[in-house]
């Protein structure tokens, strides 16, 4: 079901020649992701990492950040920026046990500047504001609880997502096991992580010792790579934001194989029309037994053909558009030793989490908690983080972080429901007043910690949603909702490029407004207006909602409406339609 007709396909070269980007050099020289990170850890004159290590720590799951709110202030104080790291854990499928949760809760409280746990769109948690002297302790603490952060960032396959469908318990369990297997299969094999952070036994040298990366290669991937396992009809993981997607196909409640979707991705660069958000292409169906072979084949094809000259065009989606979907697919088939069968039918109907209680086929109960922005922090009169910890102390099942930044208390026995709910309510984790609109709104972290942030997102969203709620109420559609996502830069962590209304940070207080995504997350929204101020955004939304509320057909979603009446054109083929 590729969107590209033969005419649109550029039969470009399989390999882009030219001078490689500097990141290629640093990966090659990194001695399998070690660099001189160990030396930097000993350097107590700066809280930061130097030169290549600044990038290399990403492959160990960390980003160097600083408190951007006070960067100028500190420059005047002759102090360096308040360097710290953000850690993103590797939690395939987002499942975490109560014991693990209590471990990370304690670390976040005692050893991070912000004292929070941030659940993110990568279906995992992040620590924000960890100072250099605490980094090793952090990894060792995680290791103690059976958690790592290998390859959750950088040019590698990152945390593997999996639909958090707790209802179809058995199917979910199978899908989850595959997510774990795929994650482990595609992990870097270097022992750098264990050596540096866990004081693991040191293995001398690089390749001579036989330390090779059979899948990722010594230079790793050209760019970040994201993988999901999804159980239709729920598209909570947003397959079109990911390079490689395994769509679970079940027969009689048992998993039999996957439809494979390749080449989704949302990141772009402002002002660079060679970059665009793009949906994934369907390669066809593959049996379970060949899952890992296909995963390797897609990753190695992208490894070999991805653009290592221009990082802005290095992701799988651009490789597909350059060499042609058919060429890429044929290579994958050859490498995996398979032929894709025709895709099995499936349909996505929703993306949001079902907030509140649900009952699974196995009779267990699941409570999905809406966590605004995924931020678990104790605020005055709103001890959210403590609340989850209190639940963890008595909970006998597990927790599931969702790709929508929410948290599910999963596997609750009937007799424990009341106490879990009591704790959730007592700590502000369950509030009946949260609107549908709020539940369908999402923002990335952005300021003050994200170094890429161009405009506010997490701190902007709550107030924006309140204003949007008022607009919906004004036009008597308060029970309706619009998938609204705000992202602080065009990199797109909040997946605004699959929203009905997507706001992309352009500069302080300025956003580009995109319209026309759909509820299922299968359409990329098109730019409607550029450089809007917060007030402009509200004015535009007021006008748009006014029209939608009166002119829509019954139950017509906002995204479908704006395309039908011609407010924006539909993006069918991103390469062709997104910028025109």
């Amino acid at each position: 079901m590729t969107d590209l007709t033969k005419k649109d396909q550029a039969n470009g070269p399989l390999i882009v020649e030219g001078k490689h980007a500097d990141n290629e050099r640093l990966k090659a020289e990194s001695n399998y992701l070690r660099g001189t990170i160990v030396d930097d850890l000993k350097d107590n004159v700066t809280g930061g990492f130097t030169a290549d290590n600044f990038q290399l720590i990403r492959t160990h799951g960390m980003y160097q950040q600083d408190d951007r709110d006070i960067r100028n202030e500190r420059a005047k104080q002759k102090l360096e920026p308040l360097h710290n790291v953000m850690l993103r854990a590797r939690m395939p499928g987002g499942i975490i046990t109560p014991t693990q949760w209590l471990g990370i809760d304690k670390f976040a409280r005692e050893k991070t500047s912000y004292g929070s746990i941030r659940i993110t769109t990568r279906q995992t948690f992040q620590f924000h504001g960890v100072l250099k002297p605490n980094i090793k302790l952090m990894h060792q603490t995680l290791n103690h609880y059976g958690i790592d952060s290998i390859a959750t960032a950088g040019d590698v396959n990152r945390n593997v997502l999996c639909t958090t469908n707790p209802v179809e318990s058995e199917l979910h369990q199978e899908a989850y096991e595959w997510a774990k297997k795929i994650s482990e299969h595609l992990l870097p094999k270097t022992r750098a992580y264990a050596e540096i952070w866990l004081d693991g036994e040191k293995i001398e040298g690089g390749t001579e010792t036989g330390e090779v990366e059979p899948i990722l290669g010594p230079n790793y991937l050209p760019r970040k790579f994201k993988t999901t396992v999804v159980i239709p009809p729920h598209n909570d993981v947003d397959v079109h934001a990911n390079d490689l997607n395994f769509i679970a196909i079940a027969k009689d409640g048992k998993l039999i194989g996957f439809n494979v979707l390749v080449g989704g991705g949302l990141a772009m660069t402002h002002g660079d029309k060679s970059t665009y958000p793009r949906r994934a292409d369907d390669f066809g169906f593959v049996e379970l037994a060949k899952t890992l072979d296909v995963a390797s084949a897609v990753v190695t094809t992208q490894r070999d053909w991805g653009n290592r000259v221009n990082r802005k065009n290095a992701k799988t989606k651009y490789t597909l558009d350059r060499v042609g979907v058919d060429v890429f697919k044929a290579e994958v088939e050859q490498r995996a030793g398979i032929t894709f069968a025709e895709s099995r039918p499936y349909k996505f109907t929703s993306r949001g989490d079902r907030i509140g209680w649900t009952e699974g086929f196995d009779g267990k109960h699941h409570l999905a908690l809406f966590i605004e922005n995924g931020r678990l922090l104790d605020k005055p009169n709103l001890p959210l983080k403590t609340g989850v910890a209190e639940i963890a102390k008595i909970h006998k099942g597990d927790f599931r972080m969702t790709a929508n930044q929410n948290l599910i208390v999963a596997g609750v026995a009937s007799e424990d429901k009341a106490e879990i709910e009591r704790l959730a309510r007592a700590h502000g984790l369950m509030a009946d007043s949260v609107s549908v609109q709020r539940k369908n709104s999402m923002a990335c972290v952005s300021f003050p910690t994200c170094p890429l942030a161009m405009a506010e997102a997490e701190r902007y969203l709550p107030g924006l949603v309140t204003d949007v709620e008022a607009i919906l109420a004004k036009y008597n559609v308060a029970d309706e909702s619009i998938i609204l996502r705000v992202t602080g830069c065009p990199n797109g962590c909040a997946r605004a490029m699959l929203a009905e209304i997507g706001l992309v940070g352009k500069g302080p207080g300025k956003y580009n407004m995109h319209l026309g995504g759909n509820v299922a997350g299968t359409r990329v929204p098109k730019m409607y207006k550029e450089n809007l101020s917060e007030q402009d955004i509200l004015d535009e939304m007021d006008a748009l909602v006014a029209r939608w509320s009166t002119e829509r057909t019954s139950n017509e979603g906002f995204g479908d409406f704006v395309i039908r009446v011609g407010i924006v054109d539909e993006v069918k083929v991103s390469k062709r339609d997104f910028h025109d």
Binding site: V45, T46, Q77, K78, L79, E80, L82, P133
Partner: protein, 603 residues
């Protein structure tokens, strides 16, 4: 040999001899008599090459020697004024730091005025240690020929008030020297008393030396360094404050300012290691609070010295109200009869602590006067100390900043039961004047804190907290002069993220290679407290190796704890790495000090 004095009226001379001898000495001044006694003693020992005129010229030079022992520059300042006054009176003056003479050379001095300060618990200042020890040791010679007097600087809030000065006074007396005028013990506001004493003592010396002065019309003004300076403590330069920038992070427990002052056209010069004297004004709010509390009228005229000014002006510019003297506490205890004050009157350390933690207004507020007790404004201000300028180690080199001078000022802040208080000068620099405002300053030279003359010599700098200030000056200077010597900085403070003073500058110096090494001790970043002395001990091998290859070692900052702990660490390093006994290690360090390779700027 016996030096037992012989009485002239004993029968060793016959009557004629005696009469003629007495006649010949009748007109002699005490000084000449003193010389004559030596001459005769020499004669008695058959020192045949002594000829009278030559002896008069050399053994009785009409020279007044002024020696100072100074830690922070106050004693040196008094000594300089004294030297200037004496020169103006036509005396031949030699002004020196005690560190600049060999202790044994004291026996060559005939007329000596000593100005000595005392550190914390009665210790001698660094430059005075050697002479101080020598005079109380068995090696000390008889000094019967010596005329002297001592001015001692101290702080009455300490147990051993003016101890160093007292020691010099008593030891010289024991060694047979004659006191020209009684010793003067000065508290922190010493200016007036010191001036009076100077006048008295110079008059006495002049009388002693009068006969010599006629013979010698050479007035050795040139030997007194810097007294020609244009701007002084008494006559400061009114400079412009360019910048008062907080350089601790927003979550720091401390407020440390980087202060930049423009010396403009003053022509004031300083060297790395010098200090800047800063006159300050008390905050108007604090003055108002005090006047309101006392029920005075701020417009009331009071007499201060020769002038009549308003009480408000007097309290703002003339008197210390941010530092409370023990005398004031005494005064207030008597006036108020408050039991909390009366109870601690006899306990010096309790008094000191109370005075240190209560500004004048807090004393007044916490122990109000009973209604029947009357107090007038003049009586009140007379119980206060005169305001004195504060000295700050200069944090810049003129090779780098030219007509500017930079300081690193820790804002003194503390909380009493119901108010928060600031230090006088630090509060003035941090919050009392706006950028562009006026500040009266003078340069206080400190020859006891100088970079090595040889640019190749390695240096170790130990400066936690604001003690790092002069080392910023040192590095600027060494960069400007392209000095090749290695530079090693030990810095410490509470936390890495908030209190790493001048962090970015040290990072750049490390990158450029100017700073060879830096070792950091952030006391509150881990469970156990870590200080610079711990870092020294961790680096014992290398510290000792640096010392062995001639490194100079500098310590700046807190005197009462840090400098002592650092010295103990150095002694440990020298003893263990040099395989020396405690005593030998102590001698090793003493030698470093005497060679000016171990210098301290502590306060």
């Amino acid at each position: 040999m016996s030096t037992e004095p012989q009485k002239l009226n004993q029968t060793m001379l016959d009557t004629n001899q005696l009469a003629s001898f007495q006649q010949s000495i009748n007109d002699l001044s005490p000084l000449q008599l003193a010389w004559a006694s030596g001459y005769l003693a020499a004669k008695a020992e058959n020192v045949t090459n002594v000829t009278a005129p030559a002896v008069i010229a050399s053994a009785v030079p009409a020279t007044l020697t002024i020696l100072y022992g100074s830690q922070t520059g106050n004693a040196k300042g008094v000594a300089k004024n004294l030297a200037a006054q004496a020169s103006a009176e036509g005396l031949n003056v030699e002004l020196k730091s005690m560190g600049e003479i060999k202790p044994k050379a004291i026996k060559n001095i005939t007329h000596l005025l000593i100005v000595a300060s005392t550190n914390g618990e009665g210790e001698a200042p660094d430059d005075a240690i050697a002479l101080h020890e020598f005079l109380s040791s068995k090696k000390a010679p008889r000094l019967d020929h010596l005329y002297y007097s001592v001015l001692a600087l101290g702080d009455t809030s300490y147990e051993l008030y003016c101890q160093t000065g007292k020691d010099f006074d008593l030891n010289l007396e024991k060694l047979g020297a004659k006191r020209i005028a009684p010793r003067l013990d000065c508290d922190v506001d010493y200016d007036e008393a010191a001036n009076t004493w100077s006048t008295t003592v110079i008059t006495e010396v002049k009388a002693l030396l009068s006969s010599e002065i006629a013979a010698s019309n050479v007035v050795a003004l040139a030997s007194v360094d810097n007294i020609e300076e244009l701007y002084t403590k008494q006559k400061p330069y009114t400079a412009e404050l360019l910048l008062s920038q907080k350089i601790t992070g927003r979550d720091s427990a401390k407020d440390v300012r980087h202060v930049e002052i423009d010396l403009g056209e003053s022509g004031l010069t300083y060297q790395a290691g010098d200090a800047l004297g800063v006159w300050f004004e008390n905050s108007v709010a604090l003055v108002d609070e005090l006047i309101t509390e006392l029920g005075f009228d701020d417009q009331e005229k009071v007499t201060v010295g020769d002038e009549k000014i308003t009480l408000g002006e007097a309290l703002k510019t003339k008197f210390e109200i941010t530092q409370t003297s023990i005398q004031f506490v005494n005064f207030w205890a008597e006036k108020s009869q408050a039991t909390n004050l009366l109870n601690i009157l006899d306990d010096k350390s309790a008094m000191r602590e109370y005075a240190a933690n209560h500004q004048v207004v807090d004393v007044v507020k916490s122990s109000p006067l009973p209604n029947e007790v009357k107090l007038n404004a003049e009586e009140f201000i007379n119980a206060l100390r005169k305001i004195t300028p504060r000295l700050y180690s200069i944090a810049s080199s003129q090779s780098e900043v030219e007509e500017e001078v930079h300081l690193t000022v820790g804002l003194v802040q503390y909380h009493t039961e119901d108010a928060s208080r600031e230090g006088g000068a630090s509060g003035f620099l941090a919050n009392g004047i706006d950028e562009g405002g006026e500040v009266k300053v003078f340069v206080e030279h400190n020859n006891n804190f100088r970079l090595p003359a040889d640019n190749e010599t390695p240096i170790i700098m130990i400066g936690p907290g604001t003690g790092v200030a002069p080392f910023r000056a040192f590095l600027q200077e060494r960069e400007a002069t392209e000095a090749a010597g290695d530079n090693w900085l030990f810095f410490g403070n509470q936390t890495f993220t908030q209190d790493f003073l001048y962090q970015v500058e040290w990072q750049n110096y490390l990158k450029s290679g100017l700073l060879t090494k830096i070792d950091l001790a952030f006391s509150r970043d881990q469970v156990e407290k870590i200080y610079v002395q711990d870092r020294l001990l961790e680096n014992a091998d290398e510290v000792f190796a640096w010392l062995e290859r001639g490194a100079h070692i500098y310590v700046c900052g807190d005197m009462s704890r840090m400098a002592k702990d650092v010295e103990a660490a150095l002694l440990t390093i020298i003893a263990t790495k040099g395989k020396l006994s405690q005593e030998q290690a102590s001698d090793y360090l003493k030698d470093l000090r005497n060679a000016k390779r171990y210098q301290k700027d502590v306060y």
